[in-house]
């Protein structure tokens, strides 16, 4: 039994609308960098990855322990990884809590009992990898929570955050602080 002509027209229109709607959903850009990262879509990705180096300057005192808190806008930025620094004693990834990847703040820390190898002066202690909206410059806060010299005496250390030269976001010139 064939349907009436107006029913065929309605079916046709419905199919067209479904097709157009599906195409629209496929092409809509995703504002969530996490979703874009998970979808793994190539091409015009709205998200880009960058990394920032964490530097500490303890002066003449060997740095045997450090603890930093990194704050970021969790609505725009997502932490995707952490790795160690340049000094041999800090080459391994620091301690961190994975819940800080999307919480808006994360604490990173490391220590060494090898006092002879503990670095002095300005040292890159860690590197943090971020996913940010394309063209955006993440604003990072990095207050020092703790630092110590051999023996456990607490000391001060100057903190610097510098974009890793090879992965600087498009909106950041090399060497420019976020």
């Amino acid at each position: 039994m064939t349907p009436p002509s107006h029913s065929r027209c309605h079916l046709f229109l419905g199919a067209v609308l479904m097709l157009v709607g599906g195409l629209g959903l496929r092409s809509a850009p995703t504002a969530d960098p996490a979703e874009a990262a998970r979808s793994g879509r190539a091409g015009a990705s709205p998200v880009e990855f960058c990394s920032y180096d964490l530097w500490l300057d303890s002066g003449s005192a060997p740095l045997v322990a450090y603890q930093l808190q990194i704050t970021y806008d969790k609505g725009r930025v997502r932490v995707v990884g952490l790795e160690g620094g340049a000094a041999p004693v800090y080459r391994e990834a620091p301690y961190y809590d994975r819940t800080g990847f999307e919480a808006g703040r994360i604490i990173v820390a490391a220590f060494t009992t090898d006092h002879a190898q503990a670095p002095t002066g300005r040292t890159r202690v860690a590197r943090i990898h971020l996913a940010v909206p394309r063209g955006a410059v993440p604003e990072l806060g990095v207050p020092l929570m703790a630092a110590a010299r051999p023996g456990g005496a607490r000391c001060q250390a100057a903190v610097e955050v510098m974009p890793t030269p090879a992965t600087a976001p498009a909106g950041v010139e090399r060497g420019e602080r976020p």
């Binding site: 045997v64 322990a65 450090y66 703040r105 220590f111 703790a146 607490r154």
Partner: protein
Amino acid sequence: MHLKDNQPQAQADLEVRLEEALRGATVRTDGDVPEHVDKRVLAIIDAKVGQMSRRQAGSPVPHHPAWRWAAALLVCSGLGLVVLRRPHAASHGEAVVAAPPGTRPVDIVDAYLLASQLQAGVKLDSRWDRNGDERGDARDVEALAKQAVALSPDRG
């Protein structure tokens, strides 16, 4: 002493002679001290006063009790400053037998201290225990470090 009239003359003579002898033996003082005695006493006084003067001259601070208390306080303060300003063993790179964090928030320095003490062979008690085995060891170092970076409210 007076003899009665009927006593023998010898006794009367004896009485007279006794009186004369006593009169000669006693020193009469008319209120003036003999000069040689004066000189001797004054010499003794000078000697004693000289000693007292030398004693007082050799003491620059008056012997008032308040000064003694002040001096004692000054000495104690100086000793206290010396003790407090003594270079901490940590500055010489020695391992410090530190106390566990207790109730304050844990940070990475606590993990470092525990690791340092273990490396130095210090025997640690259960106060450093973080994993329930009632002793401080390498696993507690790991637990302390993770606790230091945890974002949960019970970091401490």
